[in-house]
Symmetry: C2
Subunit: 179 residues, 2 copies
Amino acid sequence: MRVLGVDPGLTRCGVGVVEGVAGRPLTMLGVGVVRTPVDAELGHRLVAIEQGIEQWLDEHRPEYVAVERVFSQHNVRTVMGTAQASAVAMLCAARRGIPVALHTPSEVKAAVTGSGRADKAQVGAMVTRLLRLSAPPKPADAADALALAICHIWRAPAQNRLQQAVALHTAKAPKGRTA
Amino acid sequence: MRVLGVDPGLTRCGVGVVEGVAGRPLTMLGVGVVRTPVDAELGHRLVAIEQGIEQWLDEHRPEYVAVERVFSQHNVRTVMGTAQASAVAMLCAARRGIPVALHTPSEVKAAVTGSGRADKAQVGAMVTRLLRLSAPPKPADAADALALAICHIWRAPAQNRLQQAVALHTAKAPKGRTA
C-alpha cells in the first residue's frame, strides 16, 4: 500500500510518500514541501500547488492520498488558505481516480505517538523512528505529511472492515426500510 | 469588459456572465448554477465543480473572473466547503491566465444596492433591474454571481487607477529605501 500524505498549506504544503502494510516495517519513498511565494496572487499560488502535487503523483503513483482534515482555527486567514490548498490536493487525486482519505490532526498524532495531543517534536521523533530515518524530516510540514501517510496505512484496515460491514448490512437490508 | 462572477459553494456554485463598462447599460450573457450531489465524496464534488467552471470559461471566454471572498461564518462546515469551491474556481481561471478578483459580500451588496447590508431580495431586485431581466434569476446563488460580475465591472476602473498609482510610485522610489 503506497500512500501520499499531504499536510496542506499555501506557503508550505508538506508531502510525503510511505509504503507498507499495518504490522510490518514501513518505508519512506520520498518527502518534501511544495512552496509558493507569499506575495504571489492567490490564483497563481493555487496553480503552483497543483503543479507540485501533480509532480508527486506522477513520480510516485500512490494508491491513496491522505490529506489533513481542516478545521476552524484561531487564525481565520490561515485556515482559509489551508482549506484552499487542501481542495487542490483533493482535486488532483480525485481527477486521477485515486481515493482520498481525510484524517484529523488528533487522529494522526494518536496514530503515530499514542496521544492525540502530542506536540510537533514528538510527532517528528516517532516519524523518524517508524521510518528508520537518520534525522527528523524538516520542516515540520514534511514530517506531518509522512505522519498522515503512516496514519492512513495503519487506520485503513479498520476503516475498510467498517466500510465492508456497512456495505454488507446495506445490501442485506430490505428495500424501503432504513437500517 | 466581460466578467464571469462566481458565488462559490459545494452544493450550489452560482455562475453568471456580464458584459459592459462602467456608466453604460450592462448585458447578461449567461447565468446558471453548478451543482454537486451532497452525498458524493468531497474529491469528486471538487472535480465536478472544476468541470462545470471549465465549461463556463470555454463557452464565454471572460476577460476577468470575480469570486466572492470567503470569510469565517457561523457554520464552520459550510465555510470550509465554500473556501474549497472558491479555490477550484480561482485555480481554473489562473491556469488560463485570466485575472481573478475577490470581492467581499458587502462590497458586492454596496455596489448593486447602495447598502452593504442589503438582503438577498434587494440584491435580486437590483440585478434584475440593472440587467433588464424579466424576473430575478433563481436560485439566489445565480443572482449573487451576476451581482459579483456587475460589482467587478463598476469597481475595476477605480482599482486599476489605484494599481497604476502604486506601480508608478514604486517605480519612482529610489532602490534600497522603503516608500
